[in-house]
């Protein structure tokens, strides 16, 4: 049995791993990938110590720091469930593996929210993307649609007006992002903004060729010809793994106290998957550290 199983390999999970290693805890880090959400972040200018660093490069540095310690790292397999055992927890994975730990830290982060319309799944990676920052350049010179009305959608639209031929910004609600960004996008010559429009369907053959949108007030349906659809309608927490075991808030985030405790002795959560107020790399890293130290404290009292 491990002293600690860390589920998730983003900033929170990797930082927890380093703290656990420095306490000489026998630790397993279990994750689909190492890096998490910052892998999709082009520029980071607010992680202290770096005036500017690309997200993937920062995560490579995290990974190198983890790997200098004797921590067992298993990637390519995500956790699907956590159950309580005598003296700890059992974590089961997608690939059918089971691992036992005296303590566990859930640091599974967030993932993009889906639109749930016909064509979305079919054309994922064939014109449908959830990461304008990573995939935007592929759509250079093309007409694209950005779905959403918040800051992520506005930032995607702002990027795409510069490199795309034309941008349709389609939002179900009035635009909700920062006014500075709204003004910036509105100023572009090659953008049309459709607010209070519902995206009905993503059309195409092998690749995306258009979207069908409906104006909420009039019910009028339009087809927009686009080669790319950027879905930027927010993030949802990867908290399914802990469902039924811990309390989730109405956003689906794991509720923790300021020591990253979930209420179940020995089970902690850290970073974007939790109700911690700010979702930032620096915050997630700090939360990972807190969770690992708290777990160490708990293990000391067990012994």
């Amino acid at each position: 049995m491990y002293d600690m199983i860390i589920i998730g390999g983003g900033p929170a999970g990797m930082t927890a791993a380093v703290y656990a290693a420095r306490k000489k805890l026998n630790t397993l880090l279990l994750s689909k990938d190492l890096g998490g959400q910052p892998l999709n972040t082009m520029g980071v200018e607010n992680y202290m110590g770096y005036q500017f660093i690309e997200g993937p490069e920062l995560m490579q540095k995290f990974e190198a720091q983890v790997k200098q310690f004797p921590i067992k790292v298993k990637t390519g397999d995500g956790a699907v469930s956590i159950t309580r055992l005598d003296g700890g927890f059992e974590v089961r994975t997608e690939k059918g593996q089971a691992y036992q730990g005296k303590t566990a830290i859930i640091a599974t982060g967030k993932r993009p929210r889906l639109l749930n319309v016909p064509g979305e799944e079919q054309f994922r990676g064939r014109g449908v993307t959830y990461c304008a920052i990573c995939d935007g350049p592929i759509f250079t010179g093309m007409k694209v649609a950005v779905i959403g009305g918040g800051n992520s959608a506005l930032e995607a639209a702002d990027d795409m007006v510069k490199i795309g031929e034309y941008v349709y910004l389609v939002s179900l609600t009035p635009l909700t992002g920062d006014q500075v960004l709204i003004d910036k996008v509105k100023k572009a010559a090659n953008v049309t903004i459709f607010t209070e429009h519902e995206t009905m369907e993503i059309l195409g053959n092998k690749f995306v060729s258009g979207i069908k949108v409906k104006e909420l007030k009039s019910g009028e349906v339009k087809t927009l010809e686009v080669g790319g659809v950027f879905i930027e309608i927010g993030l949802i927490p990867n908290s399914e793994v802990a469902k039924g075991l811990v309390n989730l808030n109405k956003l689906g985030e794991i509720e923790v106290n300021c020591s990253c405790e979930t209420g179940i002795p020995g089970l902690y959560a850290a970073g974007d998957v939790t109700n911690v107020p700010e979702k930032q790399i620096v915050v997630a890293a700090g939360e990972g550290a807190k969770a690992a130290l708290r777990a160490h404290h708990y293990l000391q009292r067990l012994a």
Partner: protein, 58 residues
């Protein structure tokens, strides 16, 4: 990074700026996500270290 660490020679194409490379990538992989890695005619979409290790016998 991984390839460099293991001393594997490779050629990198920037599909954002290189239109011909982009078209080739879309044609070969049948999709538009990056990165796409080709080894001896086999294609993988996304960064999959397990696949790379297996393919390269590392």
């Amino acid at each position: 990074m991984f390839l460099e660490q293991h001393g594997i020679a490779f050629e990198e194409f920037n599909v954002a700026s290189d239109k011909a490379a982009r078209e080739e990538m879309v044609k070969k992989s049948g999709q538009m996500g990056v990165p796409v890695i080709e080894i001896d005619g086999d294609i993988v979409v996304g960064y999959d270290e397990g696949w790379l290790k297996q393919k390269l016998g590392l």
